[in-house]
Amino acid sequence: DEKGKDGDTKKADLKVGMVTDAGTIDDKSFNQGTWEGIKLAEDELGIQTKYLKPAGTTEAEYLKEIGNLYDAGYKFIVTPGFKFETAVFKAQDKYEDAKFVILDGNPHSGDFNPVVKENTVAVFYAEHQSGFLAGVATAIELKEGEAGFIGGMEIPAVQKFNWGFQQGVAYANENLGTKINLKQENVLYQGTFDDKAAGGQIAAQMFDRGVNVIFTAAGGVGVGAIDEAKKRVQDGEEVWIVGVDVDQYEDGKLPDGKSVILTSAMKKLAHSTFEIIQQELDGEFPGGKTLTLDVKNDGVGLPEKNPNLSEDTISKVNEVYEKLKAGEIEVKAEQGSLFK
């Protein structure tokens, strides 16, 4: 009933709010991706938008900002990150006339039993698939050499990127004749999402030790790694970075217009956020559902344009992509026998 009213009478008056996770709205990653989707909806659908940044990353702080948005009339609230799980669990009961979108998580009471109410939709991304594709693309493009992985904090999304990437490289080595080596010591979590100095230093060490390409899923730490790679390329070395979450091609750009970003393992945050908003406006809010965005629905994948990948690579990756879609290849979302 509520939905009906909103949907029919004043669509464009929909007020969409977002509460940011740890990190800022400009993190070139999770928060920013989500926000860009909302902004896109603002531009194209004429909704009103607002993001709030909580003072801390506790459930209480999150709930407080959700309350602020709600009281200010923002009754469609997007929360990026698994850290919102318990907060959204409470909010969906407390604010029954509001709608919640939680990305990368499932509302639960602390016991990890998902409870997605009718006014909530939970969205998961198959980061492992995205990482897998990046791993495959990397391997095919470089053919041989050494790869590394730098993660930020050891959180599920980052871990899944990592595991997927490892599987992708292994898949290419086994099936596509590449020889990309991935050593245990070159797979690590730096421990923060903001220590650029450490990101640069670690990347430097890896490069010095023969690594040619590093997959970074580490926010600011990744930025440090990208900067290091840029310097090396300007010095004539050939090294690459694989970006994460969003297409980081621009971040890796050198003065000569080239980029050190080989490709990026994307979660189409902006896209999916936009879509859900659109669905809400169309009166088709997928309330109560847990959506998994993966290759099947183009929720994850590589950028559309990959200037650093050859035609050949792209077509091979596309084949793999199709197989993945068809379920012919399975990528695990668990560590299993993989590193870290």
């Binding site: 709010g17 607002k50 709030l52 940044k53 909580p54 003072a55 801390g56 990353t57 506790t58 459930e59 209480a60 709930l63 407080k64 900002e65 309350g67 602020n68 948005l69 009281d71 200010a72 923002y74 407390k94 602390g110 990890f112 904090m153 050891e154 959180i155 599920p156 979590y189 421990g191 923060t192």
Partner: protein, 356 residues
């Protein structure tokens, strides 16, 4: 009285400066402030949340103020908070006792943890005259990394590397009667402990021989030594108490306002304690009100931000400016001071003249 006025002037100037900033970005300050106060006070839930936000600040403010009163500058509250919170969390996760018992032990553990973290700077100050500003900064980072590795190492959450396990309900400072009274706010027993701490610390400072000694040592180490007070012991003791209070801030923060410990975060409440203490003129009751004021600013900005285009960073900016005014209001103090001193002085001279 005079210090109260100075603090109020500082607050006023800070709010004016904040208003100017709002104007500068094209917003209406009156509107902004009205939403800010509404955001903190509009309904019982918001009041509860505001008080909960203020609770750790009361503790860290007390911690810094207590140290200040005894001549020490403890900027180690963040580290002490972390360790205090870690100790309380460890107890809460490891033991199965009756709830009251468990909570008491957790609070004690938090106090001891914070005290322990302050003990080292205290010892270094007493024995080697190492300036506590530097040593507490070092201890902050040591605390930060200790939590960083101990939490995932020993108290890892079920699915997460970056957080401790969730505390069981019995080990949480949140109690139904408070949550209900404040309509589901996360206000918790920490507030009561904070009020008790304000009273106890005020009592210690003003009414006991211990306070008498600690303050004497703070004001004049040489005179304290001369009169037979044990200076080194007092320095260490005062750091212990100060650290313990910061430890309690950690307890309130991690077992009341939150129910897990997250790694990789240096709690800003520790640094805010300096501002709170300064604004509260280092008096326990002043600290309490200053903490509440900061609580209002911090918890009201979200709503202001939601209702207007004013970014939330304005709260921090206002607080920072208030602190600068409070710091430089020495000028006002001085002027008033000089005035009254000169008067008593000339009386004195007049009296002397009469003598001969």
């Amino acid at each position: 009285m005079r210090t109260t006025i100075v603090s109020l002037i500082a607050v006023l100037l800070g709010l004016i400066a904040g208003g100017l900033l709002m104007l500068f970005i094209g917003s209406n300050p009156i509107e902004g402030y009205s939403y800010l106060f509404q955001g903190a006070l509009k309904n019982p839930e918001r009041v509860g949340n505001m008080l909960a936000t203020a609770t750790p600040l009361v503790f860290t403010g007390l911690s810094v103020a207590f140290a200040f009163r005894t001549g020490l500058f403890n900027i180690g509250a963040p580290g002490q908070m972390l360790i205090g919170g870690l100790c309380a969390t460890a107890i809460g996760l490891s033991f199965d006792m009756s709830r009251p018992m468990l909570l008491v032990v957790m609070v004690l553990a938090g106090f001891i943890g914070g005290a322990l973290w302050a003990f080292i700077p205290g010892l270094l100050k007493a024995k080697f005259n190492v300036h506590e500003v530097v040593s507490t900064i070092m201890m902050n980072w040591i605390g930060y990394w200790t939590v960083y590795y101990v939490v995932p190492g020993y108290f890892k959450g079920e699915f997460l590397e970056t957080e401790s396990k969730q505390l069981p309900e019995a080990a949480s400072l949140r109690v139904p009667f408070l949550s209900d009274m404040f309509q589901g706010s996360y206000i918790n027993l920490g507030l009561f402990i904070a009020v008790v701490a304000v009273i106890v610390i005020g009592f210690i400072i003003n009414k006991t021989t211990l306070g008498f000694e600690l303050k004497a040592v703070g004001f004049n180490r040489d005179a304290a030594e001369y009169s037979g007070m044990r200076v080194n012991r007092n320095i260490i003791l005062s750091m212990l108490i100060s650290g313990g209070l910061a430890g309690l801030a950690g307890v309130a923060m991690y077992t009341g306002n939150a129910s897990t410990m997250q790694i990789g975060i240096m709690p800003s409440q520790g640094f805010d304690g300096i501002a709170v203490a300064l604004l509260g003129a280092n008096a326990p009751i002043g600290v309490f009100f200053a903490a509440v004021f900061f609580g209002i600013l911090y918890s009201g900005t979200g709503f202001m931000n939601a209702m207007t285009e004013i970014p939330p960073e304005i709260a921090n900016t206002i607080i920072a400016i208030i602190i600068y005014f409070a710091a430089t209001s020495v000028l006002i103090h001085r002027l008033i001071g000089k005035f009254s001193k000169k008067r008593s002085n000339s009386n004195d001279i007049a009296a002397k003249k009469g003598e001969i």
